[in-house]
């Protein structure tokens, strides 16, 4: 996986660029890619960078939420599904549903980089995704619940077995602001049915003027920031002192309405394949 370009010093990257120019005469500059050829495909990476305000998120570290309560997150997981990409010209590429289920887990570094292959070449400016598991996917036959949806595998902690539904978003931690004896907070948000509530949310992230230029030889890496502070503020301000447990209850909608807006575009690397 290409990662060095961010970290290595200028001379080395210059050397790399020179090396590339020799190796790929046709598309030597990552900033002026060839016109997309829609019959060709490439890969794209969506990297979810979990943060707490201006800080990188570190589980076990203390932060202060908008209600001025200190809290220590210990777990953060959420489903990203139904990904689609839109080009500058409005062409939409929808990732086949069955290969569009991902579980981002703060504890599993690799899970934060979602790799999508077979994307038609194009200059993509918008990324859409569902946070959660829609009703069709939530009622799949058991044999089709593989990968992130496998409750006996990757999805093992993300399923309510007493009400047959996935937990879309799970954040847990501890806070002394909690007035009860149990100082833990638990946000387990799910609910795909119409009743009693539906927390299937979608979001579209705009890349602004810096499209992700998917080419056979260019594999853009789109960095999306996911800010857990926004879980506590937004449509509704959340105070842990008032309520520290949001699970299968109507007020879970407040958390979902907040977290749908925790995602924002940060930057894109339009780097070549190695």
């Amino acid at each position: 996986m290409k990662k060095q370009s961010k970290k290595v010093g200028i001379p080395f990257s210059m050397a790399l660029t020179m090396l590339f120019s020799l190796m790929f005469a046709a598309c030597s500059d990552t900033h002026t890619p060839s016109t997309p050829n829609e019959s060709k495909t490439g890969d794209i990476v969506l990297e979810f960078d979990n943060v707490a305000g201006v800080d990188e998120l570190t589980l076990g570290k203390e932060y202060t939420n908008a209600a001025n309560e200190k809290f220590t997150p210990t777990m953060l997981k959420y489903y990203i599904t139904n990904i689609s990409l839109k080009t500058t010209t409005g062409t939409i590429y929808t990732v086949p549903k069955s290969s569009s289920y991902f579980l981002v887990d703060e504890e599993v570094k690799a899970s934060q980089k979602i790799m999508i292959g077979n994307v038609p070449e194009g200059d993509y400016t918008h990324v859409s995704f569902t946070i959660g598991v829609d009703s069709l996917s939530s009622t799949l036959p058991i044999e089709n619940r593989t990968g992130a949806l496998d409750m006996g595998g990757l999805g093992k902690t993300m399923f309510w077995d007493w009400i047959s539904g996935y937990i879309f978003f799970k954040m847990e931690g501890e806070s002394q602001a909690i007035t009860e004896v149990d100082k833990n907070f638990r946000f387990h948000i799910g609910g795909y049915r119409k009743e009693p509530f539906n927390n299937v949310k979608t979001n579209t992230i705009s890349l602004g003027s810096t499209p992700a230029t998917v080419r056979e030889a260019i594999k853009p890496e789109v960095h999306i920031i996911a800010d857990i502070m926004k879980v506590f503020s937004g449509a509704k301000s959340i105070s842990l002192a008032v309520n520290a447990s949001y699970m299968f209850s109507p007020n879970s909608v407040d958390i979902a309405n907040n977290y749908v807006n925790m995602f924002s575009f940060d930057h894109v690397h339009n780097d070549k394949h190695h």
């Binding site: 036959p141 496998d150 409750m151 007493w162 009400i163």
Partner: protein, 353 residues
């Protein structure tokens, strides 16, 4: 196909009288079951509607069924190996838990509710007293992971099966390769449960026109039809709805269907249970509070407690409950006894081997 195989085949579809004649020539019914397993096949009894379970996705095969049965009776599904599905679901009780109001799971912890029978589940879409589970395939995850039942984790169960000496071969027989994954594991257990079909009670044979009921049984049926069948409806004796039949609230924490719908109108409503094999599934009600059928009828006659969600069918002006004379109660019980299916309760195919 030998004679015994044919005999067992016929046994499911023709009156017991005829079958017993055949059995005489089949020799000992106590013989091992291996012969019968070749004919494991899901068939819809002629007095049943079409199943709600999609069998084309998970057709029952002899080897899939055997794997499912082995899993159903194996403590390997629990954390310490002590509890199997069969611990709480006993065949002689139509796979309910005989004599237990609540059941004991691992470390002797009590379940929230009474263990219901496992029978005719292919004709249900929602499981549990509150209907929370909406796919039979997904069902086992709950008891496996419930801290007071088997207290295990599904991935661990799969890992234990992969490492075991017997399971890879059983999965290979059932599914063509020894891969053990969530889908195969759950489908096998579903296959066993799908085969828990009770369709050979006296009542079934009456419905199929194979026999007639006695005069008393018919009288009981007509009392039942007028007083009980609005909820305990049809061939399965349930309309599969959730209702409050006037039990007092004993455990406020168990609000029944409203745990799933979060709707106050569903507070303390529970699934109308089937009454098949009812003489074997005591004690009764979602918390097993009523011990005998006589007492159940006393409840309907004079024990019904009013509440905001009491079912309208149990309200009659200022009166609550169902008017029942002692003769009517006696006749209802006579009729309910025709719902017992000895063939099912003793079917060796479904027993722990």
């Amino acid at each position: 196909m030998n004679l015994q195989v044919i005999c067992n085949l016929l046994r499911n579809y023709i009156p017991i009288v005829l079958c017993s004649i055949l059995l005489l020539s089949c020799g000992n019914d106590d013989n091992p079951q291996t012969v019968t397993e070749d004919i494991v096949k899901f068939s819809v009894p002629s007095n049943f509607p079409a199943p709600l379970y999609n069998l084309s996705r998970n057709p029952v095969t002899p080897d899939g069924f055997i794997l499912g049965r082995t899993l159903f009776y194996d403590g390997i599904l629990s954390r310490d190996g002590s509890i199997s599905c069969g611990t709480c679901h006993q065949q002689f009780a139509a796979f309910a838990h005989s004599g237990h109001d609540l059941s004991h799971g691992i470390d002797d912890q009590l379940t929230l509710r009474n263990t219901p029978p496992v029978q005719n589940l292919a004709w249900q879409k929602e499981f549990f007293w509150d209907g929370g589970v909406t796919d039979l395939d997904l069902f086992p995850i709950n008891p496996i992971q419930a801290h007071n039942e088997m207290d295990e984790k599904l991935p661990n169960v799969l890992e234990k099966l992969r490492r075991s000496s017997k399971y890879p071969a059983l999965f290979k027989k059932a599914f063509g390769s020894d891969t053990i994954d969530t889908g195969r594991f759950l489908k096998a257990i579903a296959q066993f449960q799908l085969m828990c079909i009770s369709s050979n009670s006296k009542f079934d044979k009456y419905e199929r026109g194979e026999i007639s009921l006695s005069q008393e049984e018919m009288q009981g049926k007509s009392v039942f039809d007028s007083k009980c069948a609005s909820c305990h409806k049809g061939t399965f004796f349930t309309d599969l709805s959730y209702r409050n039949n006037g039990l007092s609230v004993k455990n406020a924490a168990d609000s029944g269907r409203s745990r799933v719908t979060l709707n106050k109108q569903d507070s303390y409503t529970f699934k109308v249970p089937s009454l098949r094999n009812i003489t074997s599934t005591d004690p009764y009600m979602h918390d097993g509070r009523i011990v005998t059928l006589e007492k159940v009828l006393d409840h309907y006659e004079k024990g019904v407690v009013d509440s905001p969600t009491l079912d309208p069918l149990l309200k009659n002006g200022p009166e609550r409950g169902i008017k029942l004379s002692s003769e009517e109660k006696r006749l209802i019980i006579v009729f309910l006894k025709t719902l017992s299916d000895e063939t099912f309760l003793k079917n060796k195919l479904l027993s722990e081997q």
